[in-house]
């Protein structure tokens, strides 16, 4: 369900979201209940159901090994090839097989994983023009397409392929030259664990990391891998360096975000790493693919030689969990049935055809919540829905008009009435998960920004009268809001906003819906901004606070995901770039957080978009499943639940045949 442009890393991947609310979500979050400091993760918001959920009290002494976990997933696995798939459901299956150099807990803290340790060795205060002398010139074809097959790592910032016949670019071979001369932004060194085996028996070495990075070149996720990564270089058999192009506050998370391939599969053509192409995925992960029926089901069984089992979880130096915590996941096989219809998935769960399901309708969740035979694991995700105003079309280029409409967005009603409390109103622009890096003071930020986002019809009328007098507007204004069909909750939310706007008597609102693929094609077209429509869509952010402003507002993302209405504010662009790529922000977290605070305030004033709410990632399970806690990202929902020593997380099955 969730599709689209991803980043290389599951930790930073960006997805357009077809569904809303609890359905089909990718994101990131704070935690709830338990040892989370007691605020329940709902931010003290009375509307959120998160406050009513408790995480399970787990005693690993009761753990039972073996059994088959039956999962109901929401969409087909489009591809098992990590760099050649961008949808959350494909990644959900891939992460059982493939692993990365580092892993993350649910608050975004990083832990070495395939790497035993890593360190940041050097930061140099350079910008992308520093690569000028290494760049080669390539011709440009029609519509500015570059005439080369090589991965463009850096394009000279002063060149514009649309206006010139040739541009200067840095490709992988020249990137290596630059590094030889000591020209790079950042250097990270990873020490790999020795003795990790791929499913085929090959041992993991630094060469695998280098080959994997090469396979990410010109892949479906290359644009979002090589916005940060400059080069991967093996130092010795178990040591590998990853270089960033410029100082980058997100480099530590972004650079190692590749799923490490075996040597043989690193040589496969793009998209060929898939059972439909005769290549079962081979990784270092805890499970191997046993069967896959396109569009129907897939089945995994435990890999007998999983490295954590071999070495023991105690061999991981940062592990501080209980002594009974298992060495690897304990569930023997995983059967995933692909059931796209939410109601059918719910019925399958009630008929005991599956043990756990995600992406159910919010009204159904309430019923599971009230039933003792089932449990819901949920956490605030980074997924959010937003409206974007046609800022380049009069009179919507006046920020007061946009601020007024924002006051007519009933965020509390959206969460409590449309989503039944399975979300949190977006009083600020960032969810729990991005708060760590995205603000210096959460409460101060909310105090400052929330007044802009309150449902306030009086304030809206004042603004509308003011802007109407100044511009000589004839109310009611006609405006069309567009949204994708087949996302009931989102459409209902738009109906509610439209009704709220109409009740003000300043607007006549029409709603137009489009089938998902047609809609994404429509709104990602650079000419869409000329139509003068308000576009509504869902997007998933990450631990990186940038994912809650950049994708929506940076001029680089016009015609891409997801600056739909052509916002082009150079001041804002600079602010966003400085919060991530400026050396001060890289070296001092506080500086970075303060810069983001400035951005949130600036955005509240400019009001290019209205973020309505932050969704939850949830899973509903029967009483057989013990110990399930939800990860904020849909793609790692099961991977995290099955085995995550960074949070002492493992599930097992409590049933007789299990």
């Amino acid at each position: 369900m969730a599709r689209h442009t991803g980043r290389g890393s599951r930790l930073s991947r960006r997805h357009l979201l077809q569904g809303i609310g609890a359905a089909s979500v990718v994101g990131l979050a704070g935690c709830l209940g338990g040892d989370d400091g007691g605020d329940g993760g709902g931010g003290g918001d009375s509307t959120s159901k998160l406050n009513e959920l408790e995480e399970p009290d787990v005693d690993f002494a009761d753990l039972q090994e073996g059994g088959t976990l039956r999962i109901g997933t929401t969409a087909n696995v489009e591809s098992f090839d990590p760099p050649y798939s961008t949808d959350a459901q494909s990644t959900q299956a891939q992460v059982l097989v493939f692993e990365q150099l580092v892993t993350s807990d649910r608050e975004g803290n990083l832990y070495p994983w395939l790497a035993k340790s890593y360190e940041q060795r050097e930061v140099q205060d350079i910008d992308r023009t520093a690569y000028e002398e290494y760049m080669t010139t390539v011709g440009t074809g029609e519509e500015g397409a570059l005439d080369t097959d090589a991965q463009i790592i850096v394009q000279h910032p002063d060149d514009n392929p649309a206006e010139s016949d040739e541009v200067r670019v840095l490709t992988p071979s020249e990137a290596a030259d630059a590094i030889d001369d000591g020209v790079f932004g950042m250097q990270f060194r990873y020490q790999l664990r020795e003795g990790i085996e791929f499913h085929g028996g090959e041992e993991l070495t630094a060469e695998n990391v280098v080959r994997t990075a090469e396979r990410y070149e010109n892949s479906d996720v290359s644009a979002q891998t090589f916005d940060s990564l400059l080069h991967a270089r093996a130092v010795d058999e178990y040591t590998v360096d990853l270089f960033a192009q410029v100082p980058d506050a997100e480099a530590e998370r972004e650079l190692p975000g590749m799923y490490i391939h075996s040597t043989e599969q690193a040589g496969l053509e793009g998209g060929a790493l898939d059972p439909r192409q005769g290549n079962d995925p081979v990784g270092t992960g805890p499970y191997t693919l046993e069967a896959f029926e396109d569009g129907q089901y897939y089945e995994f069984s435990k890999f007998g030689n999983y490295w954590v089992e071999g070495k023991g979880v105690d061999s991981i130096d940062w592990f501080d969990g209980p002594s009974e915590f298992p060495d690897g996941p304990v569930i023997e096989t995983i059967e995933a049935e692909i059931i796209e219809d939410d109601a059918s998935r719910s019925a399958a769960l009630q008929n005991d055809e599956i043990d756990v399901a995600s992406g159910l309708e919010s009204s159904t969740l309430d019923e599971y919540h009230d039933d003792e035979g089932y449990r819901i694991a949920a956490i605030e995700a980074g997924a959010y829905d937003y409206l974007q105003y046609p800022v380049n079309v009069e009179p919507w280029n006046d920020e007061r008009l946009r601020q007024a409409v924002n006051h007519l967005v009933p965020r509390e009603n959206i969460v409590s009435n449309v989503l039944n409390g399975w979300a949190r109103p977006a009083w600020t622009s960032i969810p729990k998960l991005a708060e760590k890096n995205g603000t210096a003071d959460v409460e101060a930020l909310e105090d400052e920004v929330r007044p802009y986002n309150e449902y306030d019809t009086e304030q809206a009328k004042e603004l509308l009268d003011e802007v109407g007098d100044d511009l000589g507007l004839d109310y009611p204004l006609e405006i069309q809001i567009e949204v994708n069909a087949n996302a009931n909750d989102r459409v209902q939310m738009i109906e509610l906003i439209a009704e709220s706007m109409e009740q003000s008597e300043y607007f006549e609102v029409s709603i137009e819906t489009y089938e998902w693929n047609a809609y994404t094609r429509r709104v990602l077209n650079p000419d869409y901004q000329d139509n003068g429509f308000i576009a509504a869509i869902g997007l998933s952010g990450t631990f990186n606070p940038e994912s809650f402003c950049n994708a929506l507002h940076h001029s680089d993302n016009v015609g891409q995901c997801c600056n739909l209405n052509g916002i082009n504010d150079s001041e804002l662009d600079t602010m966003m770039d400085n919060a991530r790529y400026d050396i001060e922000a890289v070296e001092d977290e506080t500086v970075r957080a303060e810069r983001y605070d400035e951005i949130w305030t600036y955005l509240a004033e400019k009001r290019y978009s209205s973020i309505t709410h932050f969704s939850l990632t949830e899973a509903v399970m029967n009483a057989d499943v013990a110990g399930f806690r939800a990860d904020p990202f849909t793609e790692s929902l099961y991977d995290f639940a099955l085995y995550a020593p960074q949070e002492s997380q493992a599930i097992w099955l409590e049933r007789e045949d299990g």
Partner: protein
């Protein structure tokens, strides 16, 4: 040359005797009664048909309710000031009154309950008739008119004209009507006139074929021959002599077809392809509650959200079918394709 040549002489005819003899029949000028037209006779029979009259009553009630549901203004002038429905069909009640919840069951203040978006179902059902009913009548008016002319031309001229025109009809018949409508709505997008077009563009074919059959038999009648012999033009023969005589079976099919179109519009609405979401069209309302049909554990289905729109569709289509049957009986129309009833 004889002057008698060329004259006809009648002999042996006694006019006086004919005038004075007893009349051969009972007919006399003073005993003549006005001939009862087929329409009047039909109406008399129709009035006696109870089920048909119940149908008429239901359709009338639904239509008047739809008309009076909310005030109608044209260009700012109110032309219908009454409001039977307590709320606008789009009004989301919880925005003003937080005590109203999503899917509240029927109560005194909301006799049909609240829908999944917090709107008053009673108001929406009443108002929804404006879409469902009017589309039915508009589509049938358009398709029946076109189909009649098409069929009449085809049947009257015969030969290769008939051959070509009927093959076109056959081609249309090769596709299920709902699938064609679905394709059109997918291409054009949802909306009132898009739906009208979707059902009209190919919906005339059944009328074309029916009228052509009628014309084939009517045109052999002597009065048609006579009209032709008197030098009437083709168009005048078709319009004055043929079409009026093909109307009775057409009426039956048309009345039944209104139901079919309403079901079709509701079906597209249920598939999410009809009117924009949130519209009070009955099928679209059903679609909005679809996910509640498989509830969670211990969950209850908010029956009012599906039953009332479904009942409205059922009542109207049933009523139209009863009217169609009534017309069929009243006009003695035969072979009218009764298998084409609404809902089929």
């Amino acid at each position: 040359m004889s002057t008698e040549r060329g004259r006809i002489r009648i002999t042996g005819f006694d006019a006086d005797r004919v005038e004075s003899r007893d009349p051969l029949s009972d007919w006399a000028e003073h005993s003549a009664v006005e001939t009862q037209s087929r329409w009047r006779r039909g109406w008399e029979r129709f009035k006696r048909n109870r089920s048909a009259m119940v149908g008429v009553a239901v359709v009338l009630v639904l239509s008047i309710a739809a008309l009076l549901a909310r005030p109608i203004t044209v260009a700012g002038f109110p032309i219908q000031p009454l409001a039977l429905a307590p709320h606008e069909p789009s009004t989301i009640l919880y925005l003003q009154d937080p005590s109203v919840g999503v899917y509240d069951p029927p109560s005194l203040s909301h006799p049909m309950g609240i829908d999944g978006s917090g709107r008053d179902l009673f108001s929406r059902i009443l108002y929804g008739g404006r879409y469902s009913l009017s589309i039915g009548f508009v589509v049938v008016a358009l398709t029946a008119s076109f189909g009649t002319v098409y069929g009449a031309v085809s049947g009257y001229y015969g030969g290769w004209v008939d051959e070509i025109m009927m093959r076109i009809v056959d081609t249309i018949y090769a596709f299920p009507g709902l699938v064609l409508a679905l394709i059109i709505v997918t291409i054009l997008g949802g909306g009132y006139w898009q739906l009208v077009l979707a059902f009209s563009l190919f919906g005339w074919a059944s009328y074309g074929r029916l009228v052509r059959g009628e014309v084939l038999s009517i045109k052999e009648n002597e009065y048609v021959m006579a009209a032709k012999a008197l030098g009437a033009r083709d168009w005048s023969v078709i319009l004055k002599h043929i079409i009026p005589n093909a109307i009775p079976p057409l009426l039956v099919v048309a009345s039944l077809n209104i139901g079919t179109v309403v079901i079709g519009v509701a079906a597209l609405g249920f598939l999410g392809l009809g009117m924009p979401p949130g519209t009070a069209e009955w099928g679209t309302m059903l679609d909005a509650t679809r996910e509640t049909l498989i509830p969670g554990p211990e969950g209850r289905i908010p029956w009012w959200a599906t039953v009332y729109p479904g009942l409205a569709i059922f009542l109207f289509v049933m009523a139209m079918n009863m009217i169609g049957d009534g017309i069929n009986d009243a006009l003695d129309a035969q072979a009218t394709g009764m298998d084409d009833q609404g809902g089929a």
